[in-house]
Symmetry: C2
Subunit: 208 residues, 2 copies
């Protein structure tokens, strides 16, 4: 650990942890709105209500803060996909409810996927960002794989349905659709992409 | 037009136009490799073999250069989709050939889609970037809409096939799959996403 490294979260006091969380939440909101490249320390400091030295103590570099925001946004998207009303994403109804909860959202037009839009912005910036992006996508995709596997085990999907492949289609359609929505300021691309992907998943349904 | 605006391309001499093209091509390659945020004037100047004043004369700001690279990459992706071997993207064979030409590409793992990865990086940076991104996606999607419309007109796709909706699914699966590939350093997500999307398109095929 070098002198300029951030203080590991596990060594923080409760108050220090709360400050760290406040900084990450403020940075996450600003970055979602304007992009990481258009968000500076001064804005984050003000939004979080912390001093420059507090910010630097927790996050000595912008890279360290972006990594923390990536992890925070990944936690958020994983938690959102585990909301009680979505069950374990293991029914056609739950998958449609998942899709509709995003298609209806003004946030998708404003800034795309909370995790994916930052992921796409910074994935090339440095190897540790790419690792954090890969980790977030993997945790998110695992939820779909698990739900689809359960449906297959229960005989609701035919044996030839491949949960990993279908999870790739659903998550790719989501990320691509979110980018197209954001660019076009129109919610049609994401709707078409998700409904098409879901119809393909349903083509594996066992009749009756 | 302010004093600091770039020289409009239409007012350039042939030599000036060639210099402008060389700068854009060099910037496009560097940005594709490292991202716009990690590419600076010095690197672009060196790669293009131009002086600092030449660079500034053509592109007074980084934003102006990024806009030019976005337009250049949009032209490239549109041209690539009009390659003779893809016909007019108006057959299942052509659509599969299109998908396979990207799935097999090492570039997708290295840097994702040449247009889409930059689009996703800069779409939030400023309104003029978002406009350029929207324009590029629209031109690209129009090629799929046209091909699918021809297939429907010829009776190869059933009347209920919606070319615009299917074009959204194909392009979203492509952009999302490209991002997932890049993050995972694995070509499976894009393959699964495109094959799934194409299978859904084929579900509208007229039998016989």
């Amino acid at each position: 650990m070098t002198a300029s490294s951030e203080v590991p979260a596990r060594k923080l006091t409760p108050k220090g942890l709360a400050t760290r969380e406040r900084i990450i939440a403020a940075a996450a909101e600003l970055i979602y709105e304007h992009g990481a490249q258009n968000t500076n320390n001064e804005q984050i400091r003000e939004a979080a209500g912390v001093s420059g030295s507090q910010l630097t103590r927790h996050f000595p570099t912008k890279e360290a803060l972006v990594r923390a925001v990536l992890a925070w946004q990944a936690d958020y998207i994983v938690a959102r996909h585990q909301a009680p009303e979505l069950g374990e994403l293991d029914s056609f109804a739950a998958l449609h409810q998942w899709a509709d909860s995003y298609i209806a959202s003004q946030d998708m037009l404003r800034g795309g996927c909370t995790f994916g839009s930052l992921a796409a912005e910074v994935v090339k910036a440095e190897p540790s960002h790419r690792d954090a992006v890969a980790d977030g996508f993997e945790r998110w995709q695992a939820l779909f794989r698990r739900g689809l596997s359960k449906m297959r085990e229960r005989g609701e999907l035919r044996p030839e349905a491949d949960p990993a492949a279908l999870a790739h289609l659903l998550t790719a359609a989501f990320q691509g659709g979110a980018l197209l929505d954001q660019a076009a300021a129109d919610s049609t691309p994401l709707r078409d992409a998700l409904y098409g992907a879901l119809a393909y998943v349903e083509s594996f349904a066992v009749e009756g």
